[in-house]
């Protein structure tokens, strides 16, 4: 297990470096020059080169990337003298617009995105693992039809559309829940949850429908397997065998859950937009519209890092629940 972990960890670091390199090249070789954006109009050439120097964009792309990676591990300082801006490790870049490190920007937005993401992921797990096995049990029945049809519909439905619908119905028509804004958990846990209920349900329904469909099919596969027939042959009731099957279905569903959670933690762009919550997704959108490349690259890489770390954690958890991975 230790060896397996070490190997996986090393591979993750390599992948992350490769991704950062690609992202870096992609964005910094693009048409938009961050120094020029910051310089404004009119822009004196001396001023431009000053800014470039400050940002470090006067160097070649590869050197810039090396600086960036170094910043991730040991932090870095932009500019010199009185103007100098310190970006502590892990430095995901710097927003010259807001004169803040991207890390601290992300950090300030993370509670919002995390609240949305974790709640949404938990709801989708509950929805999926309740409806999926039930649909499998009553295969061909009404619930099965709903799960299969509903999951197709929801997979095709964009999150923002469902979000807008939810706001329209539960917010405006029924006036049941607040439709926008975020209240920190530390301020009022009740208000926090109350404001998050709609986004949780929207994300939970969309992902949960996919989980339900997956869990249903997986459950039917399991129920047709030899080892469950063998368990019944030892005198286990059909009900007990279904329980065994559900346990087996958790294994692949945990993987989906982990990856989706990591994906959402990197920013729930549409959900944040629709519900006016200023999380990481909103940060990224803002960065794009203000041509703040530091923010765009930083949040993109943060998201990539989360997915890779999420994958790693999923693999470790898999090792705990599937003995064939752990003791292969």
């Amino acid at each position: 297990m230790a060896w397996y972990l070490a190997r996986r960890l090393a591979a993750s670091v390599v992948v992350l470096l490769a991704i950062s390199f690609c992202v870096y090249l992609l964005f910094y070789s693009g048409p938009s020059d961050p120094a020029r954006v910051l310089c404004g109009k009119p822009c004196q050439p001396e001023r431009l080169s000053q800014i470039k120097q400050f940002m470090g964009t006067d160097k070649s792309a590869v050197v810039q990337w090396v600086d960036f990676v170094k910043g991730l591990f040991v932090g870095r300082t932009y500019g010199t003298g009185a103007e100098a801006a310190r970006c502590a490790a892990p430095c995901f870049g710097f927003s010259f617009d807001q004169r803040q490190s991207v890390t601290s920007l992300i950090w300030s937005r993370l509670p919002i995105t995390a609240s949305i993401a974790i709640g949404g992921a938990v709801v989708s797990l509950i929805v999926g693992m309740t409806l999926g096995p039930l649909a499998a049990r009553f295969r061909g029945g009404v619930l099965d039809g709903l799960v299969r049809g509903g999951s197709l519909l929801l997979v095709a439905m964009p999150a923002y559309l469902l979000g807008l619908l939810a706001i329209l119905v539960f917010g405006f028509q029924l006036n049941m829940v607040p439709v926008s804004g975020y209240v920190p958990l530390s301020e009022s846990p009740v208000d926090w949850a109350w404001h998050l209920i709609l986004p949780w349900c929207v994300l939970g329904l969309i992902n949960g429908a996919a989980y339900a469909r997956y869990a249903r099919n997986q459950m039917l596969d399991e129920l047709g397997s030899d080892y469950l027939l063998a368990e019944r042959a030892t005198g286990a009731s059909a009900r007990r065998v279904r329980r065994t099957a559900r346990r087996s279905v958790w294994v692949p569903v945990t993987t989906l859950f982990g990856i989706d959670l990591a994906l959402m933690l990197g920013g729930t762009i549409f959900t944040e937009k629709v519900f006016s919550m200023h999380g990481i997704g909103d940060l990224l959108l803002g960065g794009v519209s203000s041509h703040d490349l530091g923010i765009v690259v930083g949040t993109a890489l943060f998201g990539a890092a989360l997915i890779i770390v999420g994958n790693l954690i999923v693999d470790i958890v898999q090792g705990f629940i599937d003995p064939r991975v752990r003791r292969g």
């Binding site: 042959a233 599937d322 003995p323």
Partner: protein
């Protein structure tokens, strides 16, 4: 080999057992099977692929899918598993009638230790705590020939070799001392060297525990070595049955004869059934009259009856237990070749 014990109640009694798989084209997989399996004896069921061996086995333990319609009776411990309510069948499975499957890797839960699976099976029928059940698991693993069972009890199936897995599955099947054990091709997936060991284990357990063993196999060599009785199935029916000695030495059905002839040397290591000329009949395409007539070398001699009249199992002269369903041998012995 034990003497036939016809006076004793059979451990498993099948009467007119019929299995039909539904759907657009219903398939009669098993058609009116009568069988008695006695405690301490080994009954082999042989026949080509699709002849209904597994369907017979699963009907006997009441585990066919809902798409199968089962009629007739399969009586174990005084209960007819065909008509009994599921609540009555559940407690009998594992305790009175148990089953060993062909592919142990698929038939063991990959997420649970061997010990857990054996002790779970034990605790389904005994009110004991986990420690006691684990002790029982170690004991049974030891009985089925797993070395160092105290340590291996916590292994997962994938950590066992193929032969050991099959032993472990046998352990889960016998942990409650069933009166009937059905083994559906228990050695087909194993190396030749391991096959014999597993068969020896099964026959040893049959003797020790006084179980009735139903051994489903393709391998007539296995039958010769391990079985007391044999039932030969063709297209869902038993076409010949009796003691192995009677059936092998005084074969009374052309299909059995063909099977024996297709097995070149009963003592050779690889004894899978060689092909018999012609297309095997099945429940889906059962010929009229005797289902074997399109492939039977004696059908011409008999004439029309083979194509029109269903032969019934009739006792051979001198042995009430040796029966065959054939117009030709109802009149005369099969000629020696």
């Amino acid at each position: 080999m034990a003497e036939p014990r016809t006076s004793v109640e059979p451990a498993l009694r099948l009467r007119d057992l019929t299995v039909t798989f539904g759907g657009a084209h219903p398939v009669r997989a098993v058609d009116g099977v009568d069988l008695d399996v006695h405690p301490g004896r080994v009954l082999a069921i042989v026949g080509e692929s699709g002849s209904g061996k597994s369907a017979t086995a699963l009907a006997s333990i009441g585990l066919l899918p809902g798409s199968a319609e089962v009629t007739g009776s399969a009586t174990v411990a005084g209960v007819d598993l065909v008509t009994a309510a599921e609540s009555q069948r559940v407690p009998l499975r594992g305790s009175s009638i148990a089953m060993v499957f062909q592919d142990a890797l698929a038939a063991l839960n990959p997420y649970r230790t061997i010990g857990r699976q054996i002790s779970d099976a034990y605790r389904l029928h005994h009110r004991v705590d986990k420690t006691a059940a684990r002790k029982r698991a170690v004991e049974v693993l030891d009985r089925v020939g797993i070395r160092d069972p105290e340590r291996r009890v916590d292994d997962y199936p994938h950590e066992f070799s193929g032969g050991m897995r099959q032993r472990a599955m046998i352990a889960t099947a016998i942990v409650n001392n069933p009166t009937v054990l059905i083994a559906d091709e228990p050695t087909t997936a194993l190396d030749v060297t391991v096959q014999q060991q597993v068969l020896d284990l099964l026959t040893g357990l049959t003797d020790d525990l006084g179980m009735a063993l139903v051994l489903i196999t393709h391998d007539l060599g296995v039958v010769a070595e391990t079985a007391d009785d044999i039932a030969v199935m063709y297209a869902g029916r038993i076409v010949e049955t009796g003691t192995v000695l009677d059936v092998f030495d005084h074969t009374a059905h052309p299909y059995t004869r063909a099977l024996l002839q297709a097995t070149p040397n009963l003592d050779a290591p690889s004894r899978r059934l060689a092909a018999i000329p012609g297309v095997p009949a099945s429940g889906a395409n059962r010929p009229t009259g005797c289902a074997f007539h399109p492939r039977c070398p004696f059908a011409e001699q008999v004439g029309e009856a083979c194509q029109t009249v269903d032969p019934h199992l009739t006792p051979r002269p001198g042995s009430a237990l040796h029966r065959a369903a054939c117009h030709f041998t109802a009149e005369q012995e099969l000629p020696h070749v």
